[in-house]
């Protein structure tokens, strides 16, 4: 943190000139600091001592102020900027305006405060060309999303590296007229030419705007997060994969995933993919989902052996037909709704790279066999979470024994565990703790 001693030494150097040879922050001590202070008060009369403190604070070198200001939250920095002209100048240094998060909330729809409109005006006026890492957090009101679009449209002088459009509640960007949104976004795409990270989930972005993105930023784009963008088609995202060879992290919905996309991401020109996140969401019961060929997944694994495949499933139980029939390189698996025993059995067989598994609900038949199978075949499994499921205590202990200490995260609701002849609820946590090598308890919910 802040090294006050080096600060004082620096000031002394400014004043004195000769001293200050060994002003290395590392070996300064409070004694040195004290010595500096007393020396100065000895040198001058009593009145000058306070003058020393007053004037030199104002004449602190800008790089020092910058260093200090970087530790301050915006509000404190703003207060500091009111102190004197020098500090006000420092407040406006470009380095302090590289990164900004616009919070756009309406009192009627959110409990949180918004970024002051005057501050927003100031930033656009004085600092828009300094901005590099920008995010917009909007609440559920359309006005907030529209305000975000307005700001975006004004960022003509920016070369942004990072842009995030984040809805903190209901996705209000979807309520903005599509053309208004697209034109605002296009301003940034065209002007930035150096976008590296883009987060546009739950927005009305479409294929043509993705083309604009690609046309201007294909060399720099590394991260693209666009789950739940209903106006994008598989062709649109394929265009991104084909042109942006540096893309390392991608998040999208299952309907955009295709064999061609996976092959494009595994082409020779393409860098190693680090992270692929896929949301599989059912709009209506009985929805049909296409399948991805095993060969496409194999190509991905060959090209990027360490990549994480994160899949979130929000399906009805009977919609899992197309999934887990072949080996799939999924590493992080989340079942947001009820998933059947049978599907979990298939997961055990076909997901050798599995690292994390979360099952929100299953049903009232014990998952003993399925868990044991997962412990046996998924040798990388290190985190598991079980919600409304049932597992007999013996099978659970067996599962933990098989996984051993690699289980760093074991989050089981208390109701999941069924006591049997071998273990009661009170005994099980000792057994499990023993095998895990740390104290463990199931998760509890208040019973009142």
């Amino acid at each position: 943190m802040l090294n006050l001693t080096s600060l004082f030494l620096r000031m002394k150097r400014m004043k004195g000139g000769e001293e200050g040879g060994d002003s290395s922050p590392g070996n300064s001590s409070p004694e040195v600091c004290k010595k500096v202070r007393t020396q100065n008060t000895e040198d001058s009369e009593a009145g000058v001592a306070s003058e020393f403190l007053d004037s030199d604070w104002a004449r602190l070198p800008q790089e020092l102020l910058l260093h200090i200001f970087q530790y301050l939250p915006l509000l404190d920095r703003a207060y500091a900027s009111q102190v004197c002209r020098g500090w006000n100048q420092a407040f406006h240094m470009p380095e302090l305006w590289r990164c900004f998060e616009f919070e756009l909330n309406q009192p009627a729809s959110s409990y949180l405060k918004a970024t002051h409109p005057d501050l927003i005006k100031q930033i656009i006026k004085r600092h828009s060309n300094h901005l590099q890492y920008v995010s917009f957090k909007v609440d559920s009101s359309t006005e907030s999303a529209e305000a975000a679009c307005d700001i975006l449209s004004q960022l003509v002088n920016c070369s942004l590296k990072t842009l995030g459009l984040i809805s903190t509640a209901r996705p209000s960007f979807m309520e903005v007229p599509k053309s208004h949104f697209i034109s605002a976004l296009t301003v940034v795409f065209v002007n930035s030419k150096s976008l590296s990270s883009l987060k546009i989930d739950d927005t009305p972005v479409d294929d043509p705007s993705l083309k604009v993105l690609v046309a201007n930023n294909s060399d720099t784009l590394k991260l693209l997060k666009m789950s739940s963008c209903p106006h994008v088609s598989p062709a649109g995202i394929l265009c991104v994969a084909d042109q942006c060879h540096g893309l390392r992290e991608l998040a999208l919905n299952y309907h955009l995933l295709s064999d061609e996309l996976l092959l494009a991401l595994s082409s020779e020109k393409h860098v190693h993919l680090e992270h692929l996140r896929i949301d599989v969401v059912s709009e209506n019961p009985g929805q049909h989902f296409h399948t991805i060929k095993k060969s496409s997944w194999d190509a991905m694994v060959r090209h990027s052996p360490k990549f994480n495949l994160v899949m979130y499933f929000f399906l009805y139980e009977d919609e899992f037909g197309p999934f887990f029939n072949d080996e799939i390189p999924v590493t992080h698996l989340y079942f947001g709704r009820s998933v059947s025993k049978e599907v979990l059995g298939r997961v055990g067989l076909h997901c050798p790279r599995l690292v994390e598994l979360v099952v929100c609900a299953n049903g009232l038949r014990p998952l003993d066999e399925e868990l044991i199978r997962i412990a046996k075949h998924c040798n990388q499994l290190s985190a598991i979470g079980l919600g409304e499921c049932e597992v007999s205590c013996s099978a659970f202990v067996e599962f933990v024994k098989m996984c051993g200490r690699r289980l760093s995260q074991l989050s089981i609701m208390e109701e999941v565990l069924i006591p049997d002849h071998k273990y009661s609820l009170d005994e099980i946590h000792w057994e499990v703790s023993k095998h895990l090598g740390r104290v463990w308890f199931p998760d509890m919910m208040p019973t009142w």
């Binding site: 970087q70 939250p73 404190d76 380095e95 590289r98 990164c99 729809s109 959110s110 409990y111 890492y133 920008v134 609440d139 559920s140 990072t162 903190t168 509640a169 209901r170 996705p171 990270s197 987060k199 989930d201 739950d202 991260l223 997060k225 992290e249 992270h275 996140r277 969401v281 709009e283 994480n308 994160v310 979130y312 929000f314 399906l315 590493t331 992080h332 989340y334 709704r337 009820s338 690292v355 979360v358 929100c360 609900a361 009232l364 985190a383 979470g385 919600g387 409304e388 995260q409 989050s411 609701m413 609820l425 703790s433 740390r438 104290v439 308890f441 919910m445 208040p446 019973t447 009142w448």
Partner: protein, 554 residues
């Protein structure tokens, strides 16, 4: 010296295990038992008709019990600060007794009254009997901060001595020694108000499912213990359809109002266990319900902001949506999800719902589907739920919305599936939402998916006779898990502010950020709220420390 005692009933509406009342009687010449109630306030308070009825019944019961001992209950209309100066003078009171109220509002009110009593030269005696333990002692044993995980709490409690043994009920002999002459106009001055007097309309009001009062409480206690013997199962019973309905042996509202002493329940359970199992001491899990209550009381006792998000040091600031329309639909049981609507209907009609039902509706309102603040849900429960006391209600809502107590937020209750698994027969739905009674089991939890022919045959068309579902659950829960992740990811990103000021880190992280790590909360407060007083910061840091030590005590 003449001793004229006044015992002030607030909670603790009972004559058994009432140490403060015993103190009132001890060596006194006269004793008057008062309850202070402000009918003008009744309308404004967030208290529904069932709760008022329960309270009035409890007061009625007290009055009857006191009549048998040749005394009466004095229900005084007004506010304590206005009422007491008058009474202390009129009755020449020398001793005031009441049960200790650990809630922050209660402590403040009592502080003012005790000061006033002192000015009148009245001795005040306060005794703890609403909680099993002395809560300050628990806090002290946890490095001067309340335990914020249940396991930690249990660990501390297991090191304490047993709770103080309950006292017997006051006896005729005790009362005879301090016989107080009742005024002829006692009933005019000090009677228990009726629901009408409090401003409620009672025509068409169905009879109470939960009868208020100490007599009913003790009766239920016996039945409760008998049932445990019969079931021969002293552990958590698996929930089934039957558990959803109001149980004739349920005790939670009686514990809340103090019609039943928590220590009486504790010792009865303990003795029953030791008799049946012939073992030395019962596990803590036997006292689940009582300990959860104690846990929340302990967490709340020193935190006047416990029931809100803003300014509450233990509560994560989550960007909940302000959506009065959605809140109203939820509160009134018009969400279009029969499981949710049936639960909220039972709550409004009867004043009690099973704890799993509470989890279902709380999750639906907050982090599961509607993304509305837990504070709104808490207020609805406060109005309708008989056993919702301030600490337990607020604490539970924070817990269920993953706003505090280091909860895992991955687990979301499905408003269709959870209901179906709990009650496959659908009878619970049919009972509380009669319009759906002719739906077949297959569709009763999701009537919007039933083909038109089925809907017509059941005489209930979705969108006409019964609302359409107000939200797409898959979409809603997907969005919300993202929101929760964002909140908790931000906490861990802010850990190194100096390093990240130059970069907004948008890198995706994996699923394991669905748990809130203990250090996150302290970091959150350190960096996002620099305006917090140092005092609160100290609480946070200590809390952090205490949770780490959970993992060190093997």
């Amino acid at each position: 010296m003449v001793v004229n005692s006044v015992h002030w009933f607030r909670k603790g509406l009972r004559l058994h295990d009432n140490p403060a009342l015993q103190e009132a009687l001890n060596g006194a010449d006269t004793v008057r038992c008062v309850y202070i109630l402000d009918p003008w306030f009744a309308g404004a308070a967030n208290v529904g008709i069932n709760r008022w009825r329960f309270l009035l019944e409890a007061l009625e019961d007290l009055d009857n019990s006191l009549k048998k001992l040749n005394s009466r209950l004095f229900v005084v209309r007004g506010q304590p600060t206005d009422v007491f100066p008058r009474l202390l003078k009129e009755w020449k009171v020398t001793r005031l007794t009441f049960e200790y109220d650990p809630e922050p509002y209660g402590k403040e009110r009592d502080g003012a009254i005790m000061k006033m009593a002192q000015e009148f030269g009245v001795e005040t005696i306060v005794r703890n009997s609403h909680t099993l333990y002395n809560l300050d002692r628990i806090i002290e044993m946890n490095n001067n901060s309340p335990p914020l995980t249940f396991k930690r709490f249990q660990t501390i409690v297991s090191r304490l001595e047993l709770p103080r043994r309950p006292l017997p009920p006051i006896t005729q002999q005790q009362m005879d020694k301090c016989r107080t002459k009742m005024a002829d106009n006692h009933d005019q001055l000090y009677s228990i108000p009726s629901l009408e007097e409090l401003g409620f309309r009672t025509e068409g009001l169905p009879p109470a499912i939960w009868q208020g009062g100490e007599s009913e409480a003790l009766d239920r206690l016996n039945k409760h213990l008998d049932k445990k013997v019969w079931v021969a199962n002293l552990e958590h019973p698996r929930v089934n359809t039957c558990s959803l309905y109001a149980s004739p042996t349920g005790l939670s509202p009686y514990l809340r109002f103090g019609c039943l002493s928590c220590r009486v329940l504790y010792y009865n359970l303990r003795e029953l266990y030791m008799k049946l199992r012939k073992r030395c001491s019962p596990p803590l899990s036997l006292f689940g319900q009582l300990l959860w209550r104690e846990f929340f009381y302990t967490a709340a006792t020193n935190n006047p902001n416990f029931d809100r998000m803003d300014g509450n040091p233990i509560c994560v600031q989550i960007p909940w949506d302000q959506n009065p329309e959605a809140l109203a639909k939820w509160a009134e049981g018009r969400t279009g999800f029969p499981w949710i609507d049936a639960i909220m209907t039972q709550l409004r009609q009867e004043g009690w719902i099973h704890h799993l039902a509470r989890h279902a509706v709380a999750c639906f309102l907050t982090r599961g589907d509607l993304w509305v603040s837990w504070e709104s849900g808490m207020r609805v429960f406060e109005e309708l739920l008989l056993d919702a006391d301030w600490s337990v209600n607020a604490g539970s809502w924070m817990w269920l919305s993953c706003s505090a107590f280091f909860q895992q937020f991955f687990h979301c209750y499905c408003p269709v599936g959870f209901g179906r698994r709990t009650d496959p027969s659908g009878d619970y739905i049919r009972r509380y939402i009669p319009i759906l009674k002719d739906y077949p089991n297959r569709y009763i939890y999701e009537p919007w998916n039933a083909p038109e022919s089925v809907q017509k045959a059941a005489n209930c068309v979705v969108g006409v006779n019964y609302p359409k579902p107000m939200i797409n659950h898959a979409e809603g829960s997907r969005l919300n898990i993202e929101r929760m992740k964002q909140v908790y990811q931000q906490l861990s990103h802010y850990r190194g502010l100096s390093k990240s000021t130059n970069k907004t880190d948008l890198n995706m992280t994996n699923i394991s950020t669905w748990t809130s790590q203990p250090c996150c909360l302290s970091v959150l407060l350190l960096l996002l709220w620099p305006y917090l007083a140092m005092q609160t910061l100290a609480v946070v840091l200590l809390m952090h420390k205490s949770n780490i030590s959970v993992y060190c005590c093997l």
